[in-house]
């Protein structure tokens, strides 16, 4: 059984080609906590969307870091995605599909967006380790084809 407050931390340059690395490292971490496999896939999707936003939006004219940290606290995994960029800035001309934040909000049990120390953005998401009633439908991804 996993001990509380096991931690995970990674810091890479905010570049698209690093997002798979972050994802794989996070997935490896999540495999050490008692979370159903399908739920791990969803958490990894939500965190990928947050990382993609750092790559696409945080540093319009410069290089910068992408940091991801995760902790298991009791039955809840908290993941924090952080940058030192320009802070959340609405864009009417975003190159994205515009579903990143709502996808994160739909998957996570809660999501908090805050200003990181100094500058930049911190996205904090929580996910119950066991797939309880807090997100109905998340385990019934029945796409009939």
């Amino acid at each position: 059984m996993a001990t509380d407050r096991q931690g995970f931390e990674i810091r890479v340059a905010a570049a698209a080609e690093n997002v798979p690395l972050v994802r794989h490292a996070l997935r490896a971490y999540l495999e050490t906590v008692p979370m159903p496999e399908d739920r791990v896939a969803e958490v990894v999707l939500a965190v990928t969307e947050a990382c993609a936003n750092v790559v696409v939006h945080a540093y319009p004219d410069a290089d910068g870091d992408l940091q991801v940290a995760a902790d298991l606290d009791g039955d809840v995994v908290e993941v924090r995605v952080r940058d030192n960029g320009r802070g959340i800035t609405p864009r009417v001309d975003s190159p994205g599909l515009g579903v990143g934040l709502p996808v994160m909000a739909a998957i996570a049990d809660s999501i908090e967006l805050g200003k990181a120390n100094g500058s930049g953005t911190e996205v904090r998401m929580t996910f119950a380790v066991r797939d309880t009633a807090s997100h109905p439908g998340s385990d019934s991804a029945t796409l009939s084809t």
């Binding site: 698209a16 080609e17 997002v19 798979p20 994802r23 794989h24 496999e37 399908d38 896939a41 969803e42 990894v44 999707l45 990928t48 969307e49 993609a52 790559v55 696409v56 994205g96 599909l97 579903v99 990143g100 996808v103 739909a106 998957i107 998340s138 991804a141 796409l143 084809t145």
Partner: protein, 123 residues
């Protein structure tokens, strides 16, 4: 890590763009190019995601714009899912309502048939 995606040309005037393993914003431009080349050449497109374990919304955007472009040009466009398609792929399609907006088939053969229906080259 991400396996190499490939493109197969079928006899039905459909190019099959195969997404293997994980695809996200780091590979979505490549997928967009592959889809775009097929459509520019007047061929229909199947995006075969039967072996796709993961996609993010950057890939979703490419699928949607591919379908829109195919409709404008008048060629077929379909997505193939299968039993080995990853949970994250199905969940993202479902969450965003795209499982209803995209033409989705089970397996490559059925997807090629669906795309060929809308394809002038096969009529």
């Amino acid at each position: 890590m991400t396996d190499v995606n490939g493109v197969d040309r079928t006899t039905a005037g459909i190019d099959v763009v195969e997404l293997v393993g994980e695809n996200d914003l780091s590979t979505s431009a490549q997928v967009e190019r592959q889809i775009g080349e097929a459509i520019s050449a007047g061929r229909g497109v199947v995006v075969d995601m039967t072996e796709a374990t993961f996609i993010d919304s950057a890939v979703l955007r490419v699928l949607l714009s591919g379908q829109d472009r195919a409709a404008t040009v008048g060629v077929g466009f379909a997505i193939a899912l299968g039993t080995t398609t990853g949970h994250a792929v199905r969940r993202l399609l479902e969450l965003t309502g795209l499982s209803e907006r995209l033409v989705i088939a089970t397996g490559r053969t059925e997807a090629v048939a669906k795309a060929a229906e809308a394809n002038p080259a096969s009529r």
